[in-house]
């Protein structure tokens, strides 16, 4: 599969369909996101283009500027056409970012790749494929999640005790927020003293993480980067995955599927759009 990706990347670059390929590069005994522009000193770099089960997504929010890396690139070179090697979750992130005016999807060409059944299982991914599937075979998503079932089978006091234990471990690294492609607010509520007391550990339970649960609820693309970034293994994805189900249930909405699909928090109760001037901010 990796050879197919490299070949296609080469084709796109040579035919000038794109000016650069955003993908993972093998380096320093690991992999990291990289912008392949074709040749460096006359040698093709594309031999180092790869995929990884560790980095499934690439377009992170940069900090402290709080801009998505793609939006920084596009702002720097607005006419550049970037090809991106994207799994399903990456594509969903791109759709949501475009929906929220962070990136220009017109200038992005998605090289959609399918996740294997095993990869899908690891992430408990419900949609392990992009809409623009170019390379690989689409496999079915994973529907069950024993963590969600375990949570839902608990009584309210048991749930509270569970989260009280989990959230007590929190060291307020903001790693979940920093890993989230949907967390790009310049003025983050998690940092505000009025909501969460600053400087103390663990941060206010459940306020600190509630802010993220709520703010990301209707935009979560289910990539699980937040949970993977957590140094104390708080099962954040359990709530986010359940919230993705809730969005379908409450509003018949799924984040990251189509740019035209308006967030339910920006539409009226009969799902028609609110007047444009009142739809900025959620």
């Amino acid at each position: 599969m990796i050879e197919n990706i490299r070949d296609l990347a080469r084709k796109w670059l040579e035919s000038k369909e794109v000016d650069a390929i955003f993908g993972l590069k093998e380096q320093d005994g690991g992999v990291a996101p990289y912008l392949f522009t074709g040749r460096v000193n006359g040698i093709s770099e594309l031999g180092k283009l790869t995929t990884s089960t560790q980095y499934r997504r690439l377009c992170y929010t940069c900090r402290p500027s709080k801009d998505n890396i793609l939006s920084l690139m596009q702002r720097r070179e607005p006419n550049m056409k970037i090809g991106i090697v994207a799994r399903g979750c990456e594509e969903r992130a791109l759709v949501e970012l475009a929906k929220r005016g962070q990136i220009d999807l017109e200038k992005i060409k998605i090289m959609g790749i399918a996740c294997s059944q095993e990869e899908a299982k690891e992430c408990k991914c419900e949609r392990p494929y992009p809409n623009n599937l170019v390379i690989g075979e689409r496999v079915e998503g994973v529907s069950g999640d024993e963590n969600i079932n375990a949570l839902l089978s608990k009584s309210l006091p048991e749930r509270l005790a569970f989260w009280r234990h989990e959230l007590s471990k929190c060291i307020k690294c903001y790693g979940c927020r920093d890993a989230c492609p949907m967390c790009f607010c310049k003025d983050c509520k998690m940092e505000q003293k009025i909501f969460t007391e600053t400087g103390s550990l663990p941060p206010e339970i459940p306020m600190f993480l509630f802010i993220r649960f709520y703010h990301i609820s209707e935009r979560c693309i289910g990539c699980g980067e937040c949970e993977k970034a957590c140094p104390v293994d708080i099962p954040l994805l359990t709530i986010f995955r359940q919230l993705r189900r809730d969005m379908k249930d409450l509003f018949d909405y799924e984040a990251g599927i189509a740019v035209e699909q308006e967030s339910p928090l920006l539409t009226t109760l009969d799902e028609s759009p609110m007047r444009k001037e009142v739809t900025s901010g959620v």
Binding site: L156, L160, E204, I205, P206, S217, E218, I239, L243, V278
Partner: protein, 139 residues
């Protein structure tokens, strides 16, 4: 042991519910003294974080009162509120906080009696639920 007297916070929108509360007062309607009112310009101003903060600061219940759908001074403010509160309820449930501690109701400026009734019912319900378990978490 003395009967549990809950502390309840009510966010009332300026244009309808606060006027409704006022009417209840002017009409000398009786309702339980457990509530403290915060006036907001619109129920849409009530961020879910406000509700969680109130619970976190030991309120036993939180009421959000706004104009009836279609009557919002800001046209769609209460549409937003309703959708947000639906999500809030779910999250509270997953975290183990009874969503019944939070209630959204529409009370217009002319519904003084309804205001008193909503407060009475909600207070009764919170009494049944007992003290907010988050009190213990923060202790």
């Amino acid at each position: 042991m003395a009967e549990f007297e809950p502390k309840i916070l009510a966010f009332c929108c300026n244009w309808c519910s606060y006027a409704g509360a006022d009417l209840a007062g002017v009409s000398r309607l009786q309702y339980p003294p457990n509530i403290r009112i915060i006036r907001v310009m619109c129920s849409g101003r009530v961020e879910p974080e406000f509700v969680v903060k109130a619970l976190s600061l030991r309120a036993d219940g939180v009421l959000i009162l706004g104009c009836h759908i279609g009557d919002c001074h800001y046209i769609y403010g209460n549409h937003r509120t309703k959708k947000r509160m639906a999500i809030l309820e779910r999250i509270l449930g997953y975290l183990g906080i009874d969503p019944a501690r939070v209630r959204l109701e529409w009370v217009s400026a002319s519904e003084g009696a309804r205001f008193a009734e909503v407060v009475r019912q909600f207070t009764e319900e919170i009494k049944k639920l007992g003290p907010n378990p988050l009190k213990e978490v923060r202790a």
